[in-house]
């Protein structure tokens, strides 16, 4: 009989899969061709347990490899007809709809991922950008949520600018263009894993979640791997709260890899509730999120010298 403790053995074959060395059935063919990736760090099984995934300790290495090295979207970000501002406007509205409907965090990241994938795969009529966005959210709900929002209520939330039939047609079109490849482990799980590994305080995690969500508004963020994006948000949150020298351990990415991602998060956090880009800021200003966005703007303007 194998007790639960035996799967803690760090030499178990599945834990080494992230190095790409294990052979045979334990490695999927797709994984071999992936670029060099951060190795599964020690303490991964415990980190998974902290996330309520203790049943997956056996496959910890696989899960880690899968979520951390999930590839970013390739190629040019937006079709010429869609400017970053238009995309931001739609994403900002999706953030509001997502919050209003009380959906899971992953659903929002998947919706924006689907939107970006669709925009990369071809052209889109500008008038239909909002319809496209909400259809992506609807599809993301079908992937992630137990209870689906009513299509009629989604139409209502867009002030009736399209009908239910149009929404369902848009859904079919997205499925067809993306060839049903909707599965995407988003950066939110990466953030949870990294924060559990680093033992980050809840306050740091909340701030990092805010930074990560701000990055949704940036078209260029789709080109960053989810793991790197989450690591950048976490590293930034640590430095904002605990002083310039603090970085989360273990450092899976070098500062050189993370630093280019941070300016856009800092910029967005300092911008505050700009018209058309206010949703994330306002969402994190609410008391249930401890006014994180207000505190972040303050701390970024007047950096704290060291840990409190």
């Amino acid at each position: 009989m194998l007790g639960p403790s035996s799967s803690f053995n760090p030499k178990s074959p599945s834990a080494s899969v992230a190095d790409g060395v294990a052979a045979g059935m334990s490695v999927s063919p797709g994984r071999r061709e992936r670029p060099p990736q951060p190795c599964a760090p020690p303490g991964l099984e415990e980190a998974l347990s902290a996330l309520g995934l203790e049943g997956e300790r056996e496959y910890a290495g696989d899960i880690f490899a899968e979520v951390m090295v999930c590839r970013a979207l390739p190629g040019r970000a937006l079709p010429r007809t869609v400017t970053p501002e238009m995309r931001a406007l739609v994403v900002d509205w999706l953030v509001q709809v997502h919050e209003y409907l009380g959906l899971a965090g992953d659903t929002l990241y998947l919706a924006v991922h689907l939107l970006d994938s669709y925009l990369r795969a071809g052209r889109v009529r500008l008038r239909r950008l909002q319809l496209l966005g909400v259809a992506c959210l609807f599809l993301a709900c079908k992937m992630e949520e137990c209870v689906l929002p009513e299509p009629a209520s989604l139409c209502l939330l867009s002030a009736g600018s399209f009908s239910r039939a149009e929404l369902l047609r848009a859904e079919r079109r997205i499925l067809s263009r993306l060839d049903f490849r909707l599965h995407h482990p988003g950066p939110l799980l990466c953030l949870g894993l990294l924060a559990a590994l680093a033992g980050s305080r809840p306050q740091v995690v909340l701030l990092a979640t805010y930074f990560l969500e701000l990055s949704l508004l940036e078209a260029e963020a789709a080109e960053w791997e989810p793991g790197r994006r989450a690591a950048a948000a976490l590293s930034l949150a640590h430095r904002v709260l605990d002083g310039a020298d603090s970085r989360p351990e273990p450092a899976l990415y070098s500062p050189a890899e993370l630093d280019p991602l941070e300016p856009c998060m800092v910029r967005a956090a300092l911008r505050g509730p700009a018209p058309g880009r206010a949703a994330v800021f306002l969402k994190y200003a609410r008391p249930q999120r401890q006014g994180t966005s207000l505190a972040a703007a303050l701390l970024l303007r007047h950096p704290q010298p060291g840990p409190p």
């Binding site: 059935m25 063919p29 071809g122 889109v124 239909r128 599809l139 049903f180 490849r181 799980l189």
Partner: protein, 436 residues
């Protein structure tokens, strides 16, 4: 939030907008369905089965020539050479019949599921038999979420023991998933061979089931609905996991899964007790139930109508869990403290006698049927269990997409009732066999 976004206002120049609209008109025709496809229903099944005897694309031409169609369906797959087909056949363009996609011919209905109807079909592209899962669109909610999850997961899974999704065909009213055709499923196979399967075949089926499970668990996908009906079997004896409609990627911890998954008989006690966080061990319990069912020829806990009854059946065999054997069990929603009156646990082979006839089978079964989820063996570990040491060593080195039956000398043994049937055939020619 209730607003119509005006992205137009963000447009740098107005003229640009008009140009783009003209340019876009083709790529997103408003008011036009995604793809309108003509129907092609095979009216005469006899005709089709005749043509199946000469199983060659040309042999089908006679049937096809009379079928009228105008357009090819939108197909997501590039795995087939569509151009060859276009040149190979005459396409007539009048009297459009009504219905399905033109690359595949529906032959006969195989079954009806909760959200789809499955037909046996033939691919017009390469003449292969296929299973067509025709999903009708829900006018309220669009594409069923089960279809979306199944297709998006299967797109990422390529393994000899996972059913292969060849193609997806979009039409106006329906969505058709084109799967490889499999001869039968384990439920049918067991009902055709009553009284339990040949121990050699049980081992081959079980090895394949665990191989498929190990693969999907490594890809962090849970099947969540294991039952004999969802295990397809080819005429060679290849076993493939199918029906991923309830499956999902398990990497998302923020959300508790609905506990309303897995047919009651194959549902593990933790899910029955109301636990909502479960992982790959959910599938292991189901696989363990199927393992013993193959030996016995009977479901383990049949005729159970509700969750409590099912739990009591399980406790009768495993004994009632305590905080010592299962930390945290008493905090689960459906836990009943009066259960301690139940009898002591039994050895599995006392309850299910045929387990005792095969060395190591009981040990593997008992490791899979642990009440405490974390104590259950993983699929990967189960594959190297002593029970499988009787198999040729090459089977443990097979690449993912290679079938067991590519190894020489790996084949099913005839089931007892097949032998009986051939005996009967020789002696009583009038009696027809129901076994294949």
């Amino acid at each position: 939030m209730g607003q119509e976004l005006c992205t137009k206002s963000l447009q740098p120049g107005c003229s640009c907008y008009h140009r783009s609209e003209g340019g876009e008109a083709r790529s997103w025709p408003r008011g036009q369905p995604v793809a309108m496809e003509p129907a092609l229903e095979l009216m005469n099944l006899k005709e089709a089965s005749c043509s199946m005897t000469s199983f060659h694309p040309q042999g089908l031409q006679a049937v096809r020539a009379r079928k009228l169609m105008n357009k090819r369906p939108r197909s997501n797959s590039n795995s087939f050479k569509e151009e060859d087909l276009r040149q190979g056949f005459q396409w007539q363009r009048k009297n459009l019949p009504f219905g399905a996609a033109s690359s595949y011919l529906n032959l006969e209905k195989l079954g009806e599921g909760s959200y789809a109807t499955v037909y046996k079909g033939i691919s017009r592209i390469n003449g292969q038999l296929v299973a067509l899962k025709v999903i009708s669109m829900n006018t309220e909610e669009g594409v069923p979420f089960t279809a979306i999850r199944e297709a998006s997961l299967l797109k990422g899974l390529k393994h000899a023991n996972i059913v292969l999704l060849h193609d997806i065909v979009h039409t106006k009213e329906t969505l058709t998933f084109v799967f490889e055709y499999m001869h039968t499923d384990l439920a049918q196979y067991m009902s055709q061979h009553p009284g339990g399967l040949h121990p050699h075949n049980v081992r081959l089926f079980m090895f394949q089931l665990l191989r498929g499970l190990a693969y999907i668990h490594h890809q962090h996908v849970l099947h969540r609905d294991l039952k004999p009906q969802n295990l397809l079997i080819s005429h060679l004896g290849e076993l493939k996991l199918a029906d991923f409609g309830l499956a999902r990627a398990k990497s998302i911890p923020s959300q508790t899964y609905s506990s309303e998954v897995v047919t009651l008989w194959y549902r593990p006690p933790d899910a029955l007790l109301g636990a909502t966080e479960y992982s790959s061990d959910l599938d292991i319990w189901g696989a363990g139930c199927i393992f013993i069912e193959m030996f016995q020829g009977q479901p383990l806990f049949p005729g159970v109508s509700n969750v409590l009854e099912q739990l009591e059946r399980i406790w009768k065999v495993l004994g009632v869990p305590t905080e010592d054997t299962w930390p945290g069990v008493s905090k689960l929603p459906n836990y009943n403290p009066e259960w301690f009156l139940m009898p002591k646990p039994h050895r599995l082979q006392i309850v299910w006698n045929r387990l005792g006839e095969v060395p190591e089978a009981e040990d593997l079964a008992s490791q899979m049927l642990k009440g405490f989820p974390r104590a259950r063996v993983s699929a990967q570990e189960a594959l190297v269990h002593e029970y499988f040491s009787a198999l040729p060593p090459q089977l443990f080195q097979l690449p993912d997409e290679e079938s067991l039956f590519t190894v020489s000398d790996v084949r099913l043994k005839p089931e007892v009732c097949d032998l009986l049937a051939s005996y009967r055939k020789n002696h009583h020619p009038a009696q027809s066999s129901k076994c294949w």
